[in-house]
């Protein structure tokens, strides 16, 4: 499973594009989002967090005749909440800043993401309009920055505990 992490983006770029355009999702924000919904790093991080839950907690719940689904919602998920939040933030920031994949898929300016929009003001014909470029940069970076500041404790803990086996 982890081997998929080693496949470079450039290898899957073209086949993915062909697939997205075949299902008529080109120039659509869903065309950008869909291929990125399942990511190995995310699976790995959450799995590591779940492995930190002692088996006896699950066994204790099983002894109370609680269904597997209820064990998942009542016991497992609350205990991996920090990992879920921080994985979510990391992925959000990465997607927010992404350039190569959106630029492939999105064509009309109306559908552009912020990173694509920023590009429009840098080294465009007529020279770089620094004022606008700066303004857009600040806007673009503000949201991830605020999110990181709020959730940094979770993010750091998740990456630290993925390294140390509980």
């Amino acid at each position: 499973m982890l081997m998929t992490m080693f496949v470079p983006f450039t290898v899957t770029m073209i086949p993915n594009y062909l697939l997205i355009s075949r299902i008529h999702l080109a120039d659509n924000i869903w065309g950008v989002a869909l291929p990125q919904l399942a990511d190995v790093l995310g699976i790995f991080l959450i799995r590591q967090a779940m492995r930190g839950i002692p088996v006896s907690l699950i066994e204790a719940a099983k002894m109370e005749d609680i269904s597997d689904r209820k064990i998942m919602t009542d016991i497992v998920l609350p205990l991996v909440k920090p990992a879920v939040i921080s994985t979510g933030i990391i992925f959000f920031i990465n997607s927010w800043n992404e350039y190569v994949w959106p630029v492939l898929i999105l064509k009309t300016v109306d559908n552009y993401t912020l990173s694509l929009a920023l590009q429009m003001f840098i080294s465009s014909e007529g020279g770089t309009d620094f004022t606008v470029a700066m303004a857009v940069s600040v806007m673009t970076m503000s949201i991830p920055l605020i999110l990181y500041i709020i959730f940094q404790r979770y993010i750091i803990n998740t990456f630290a505990s993925a390294g140390i086996k509980g």
Binding site: M63, E64, D65
Partner: protein, 370 residues
């Protein structure tokens, strides 16, 4: 009848067989302790009753019903785990009532049982705390409370006291017995601490290497062990087992000679050994120190080492003529290490074991009665 019967039960993980052939009946309402060294299969046995382990062979019956394939939630069992397994994200109150609420019990009934459990285990001040704000002893009581409110017919405990300090363990033992006397369910308790087993059990199931060695009351396991393993496992310091030869009414250990009482001489005659040697067993507390040598009654030995237990001293003595060591528990004043002392044993508390089979030769009083 809420009993449990193991009928030729076998447990294996792939090719590794943990439990070969277990036959055991646990009587309704009793406190049975599964006792044994690490790796003897006692936790595995408990988990088979709980339903957390598959049974590889044989049948397990609970209350007359074959439960091999019944899932653990449906066996009517409550369990206390060694690490308590309290949900860290819930308060003590929520932890205790989680199972009852999940099964949609009557809220009033749940409230009543919660109140009883909190009161009984003196957890009322901690009801709204999260586990991370509790001490080890409080968490253990929380785990107990969770098991109690279920009011199941079977109460399983997997080394619940091993993470507590010595003082707290004493206290918790009493509490467990008190709980059992109140609810009177069938309680099965796993431990490797033989003092715990002796004090809590109605019967002890002593296990070694996946086999059931002895199943009897604590008094019988202490006074009439079936084999050398049982003899050495119970009692602290454990029973002295030394090689001795018996013949013609004389017990010889090294150079010393003791007169064998008639009953023992008869028993030895009816169980002849190839070379006349047996393994003799006597507990440290049943040896006495004598100031003068008494021929036929005492042996001589050199003091090698001593330990002060507070109330008594444990002396390590090497009888003359042998390099085996005996421990004597005594409160007599003793000369220093290296001196020779005289000591004797109480033949009423004496044991003889066959050297090959390691099994006891039996009780001479019983032989006499025959």
């Amino acid at each position: 009848m809420k009993n449990i019967v193991f009928d030729h039960v076998k447990k294996a993980y792939g090719k590794t067989v943990i439990i070969k052939d277990l036959n055991l009946e646990i009587l309704p309402g009793e406190r049975l302790i599964l006792l044994g060294p690490s790796g003897c299969g006692k936790s595995t046995t408990l988990r088979m009753i709980a339903g957390l382990e598959e049974i590889s062979g044989g049948d397990l019956y609970m209350d007359g019903v074959r439960v091999n394939d019944v899932p653990c939630g449906k066996r009517g069992v409550s369990m206390v785990f060694q690490n308590y397994a309290i949900y860290p994200h819930m308060t003590v109150k929520d932890n205790i009532t989680y199972g009852l609420r999940a099964r949609h019990g009557d809220p009033k009934e749940i409230e009543r049982r919660l109140k009883d459990a909190l009161e009984m285990l003196r957890l009322e001040p901690y009801a709204d705390r999260k586990p991370k704000d509790l001490s080890g002893g409080q968490r253990q009581r929380g785990a107990l409370a969770r098991a109690i409110v279920k009011q199941a017919d079977y109460f399983l405990l997997d080394e619940p006291l091993s993470n507590l300090d010595a003082q707290l363990r004493l206290h918790a033992r009493k509490e467990l017995v008190r709980i059992h006397e109140k609810y009177h369910n069938t309680m099965i308790y796993v431990t490797h601490d033989q003092v715990e087993a002796m004090t809590v059990a109605n019967r002890i199931a002593l296990m070694n290497g996946g086999d059931l060695v002895m199943l009897d009351t604590p008094a019988n396991v202490y006074n009439h062990p079936e084999d050398i393993f049982a003899a050495k496992f119970i009692g602290s310091p454990s029973m002295n087992i030394v090689e001795a030869s018996c013949g013609d009414g004389v017990l010889a250990i090294g150079e010393g000679r003791l007169t064998l009482p008639q009953a023992w001489a008869d028993l030895v005659r009816s169980h002849p050994a190839a070379d006349g040697t047996y393994m003799a067993g006597i507990r440290p507390e049943h040896l006495f120190v004598s100031h003068e040598p008494q021929p036929g009654r005492t042996l001589q030995g050199v003091i090698k080492y001593r330990e002060n237990y507070g109330s008594r001293t444990g002396v390590y003595v090497e009888p003359l003529g042998t390099d085996q060591e005996l421990i004597i528990l005594t409160d007599e004043p003793l000369p220093e290490n290296g001196s020779t002392i005289n000591f004797g044993l109480d033949f009423n508390k004496f044991h003889l074991f066959d050297k090959e089979t390691q099994k006891t030769l039996g009780d001479p009083a019983a032989a006499e009665a025959v």
